[in-house]
Assembly symmetry: C2
Homo-oligomer: 298 residues x 2
């Protein structure tokens, strides 16, 4: 699982930083998390294969999290997309799209409206599961949890050599297949591989006030993205605007025992982002800034 | 008068090129021409003082000419704008804005809806005049003509020295004021200055099929922006989609006897723009590409 940061700023673009958008890549299937203005330009810039996006998740209906959506959908249509697109969002987003794109896109959009305070699985298959949970902002807002379920099995080199299994078949073995040798003997997968690593978990918490209650949705998280709009001296403003400080984001990562934290949604009043990193690290050491273009692998 | 190119591509952003948007600067008052997605990012990048924009002109209601508008207006509000904003557009644009920004912006927007085939003055004062005229695209579309009217008078150095007029007063003289000397004698402006240069004229012709009839609206144009979506081998596609080729744009500049031509709105199928320039120059030598970030002075 890989996360690419397309935009890391809050509402007002500043210092070359664009509003919120991220790509989650699970075994080359891509998911778009929020779609601030110019997200599609960033995708081009970072060589994101946007035709692989089939599911878009919009955390809430504030412009800096969705103003890029209509342009991106329009571009998908111009590029000849035919596959159905799934959008998980507030019902308002559908109105915005349908007002501006009343024509036939050439593909279907299936909306899945998120209800206020909704919690639960949105999408599940053998490879991954995506669920939503409420976070707490000035309008109904959701966090999203990605679980990569299918983990390739790990080859036992001595065993595959012992059974003289040809190299071209190794990738099949990691996917769980048995092997039939030239004497028609079945070598079961369990004889030559062991179980892969545990599931990987990524949680995306866009705009939210500091809210320890979300920790119950952040169990065994490998990587947490949590907004950090302000530095600590602006904690009062953060509260008033239902945002968090870098230290508050770090506090959540610490309480939830996440393995790693990335912070973003920086206010346009800050040119230098290093103080965000310093303040967060003072509470939770394994923190990184969500610098645009960065790729975080789990 | 200065024109800054913010976006020069057609609908699909490509090769780092963004959709249509330009700034016209007349004596430090700025006008925004079209507002494709991420126009506000380009303004930041090119140090455009966007608070000086009081008038926005949208040529037509295709997304690549307005998708950046709601984000830009939203940012103006976040930046504390109080001054009224004027938008000249199809009435559909108002619906798009009002759906997405139902709250109080802190400033008023005055819409001036452009009727199909409308031609005439939209805005006029002692410094400039802006008018619209129809161009011919798949939806109602307007070109815009900017005339910088007020031209500072030119000082006659020997005369101002003769009357011993102090240097600090020179700029007043260029604005047409008389001077009263220490003996209370009035030295009239005509005694020490001559009339300035003729009016300057910029015409913006966004999406349009090749249409010689627009030349009647392009009288004494110093600088013409004309769309050039395709190269000449795609002339049939240009016609079908109500767009122009580079050579057709040059043909218009030649027929209208414009002094200079800039071409843009390039199709995303072209990485290399040099053939556009070569083809246009074969018909109209004084052509330049509307490269993003370029500034054209008249």
């Amino acid at each position: 699982m890989k996360i690419t940061i397309l935009g890391n700023n809050s509402a007002l673009p500043a210092f070359g930083r664009y509003p919120t958008a991220q790509i989650v890549d699970i075994q080359q299937e891509l998911f778009l998390m929020d779609c601030g203005e110019a997200a599609q330009m960033r995708m081009k810039q970072y060589d994101i294969r946007s035709h692989r996006i089939n599911h878009i998740f919009i955390s809430h209906a504030h412009g800096d999290h969705y103003f890029g959506l209509v342009g991106f959908i329009s571009s998908m249509s111009l590029l000849g997309r035919e596959k159905k697109l799934h959008i998980y969002c507030n019902s308002f987003i559908k109105k915005v799209i349908e007002l501006q794109i009343p024509w036939n896109l050439g593909f279907e959009i299936e909306y899945r409206f998120l209800e206020e305070n909704e919690k639960g699985v949105l999408l599940s298959n053998e490879k991954y599961e995506v669920s939503c949970f409420p976070v707490y902002h000035s309008v109904p807002t959701h966090g999203f949890l990605f679980v990569e379920k299918k983990r390739k099995r790990i080859l036992l080199p001595e065993r595959v050599q012992h059974f003289e299994i040809p190299k071209y078949y190794y990738s099949k073995l990691t996917e769980g297949y048995d092997y039939i040798d030239k004497n028609n003997r079945v070598i079961t997968n369990e004889e030559v591989t062991v179980k892969g690593l545990p599931f990987k978990r990524y949680a995306f918490c866009a705009d939210t006030i500091f809210s320890p209650s979300i920790c119950e949705d952040l169990v065994a998280i490998d990587l947490l993205y949590h907004e950090a709009t302000y530095l600590q001296d602006q904690i009062q403003k953060a509260k008033e605007r239902f945002h968090s400080t870098a230290m508050e984001a770090a506090e959540i990562a610490k309480m939830a025992q996440c393995k790693k934290l990335i912070i973003g949604h920086f206010s346009s009043k800050y040119r230098d982002l290093n103080p965000f990193l310093e303040q967060a690290k003072s509470i939770f050491e394994n923190t990184e800034l969500a610098i645009e273009g960065s790729v975080f692998e789990i």
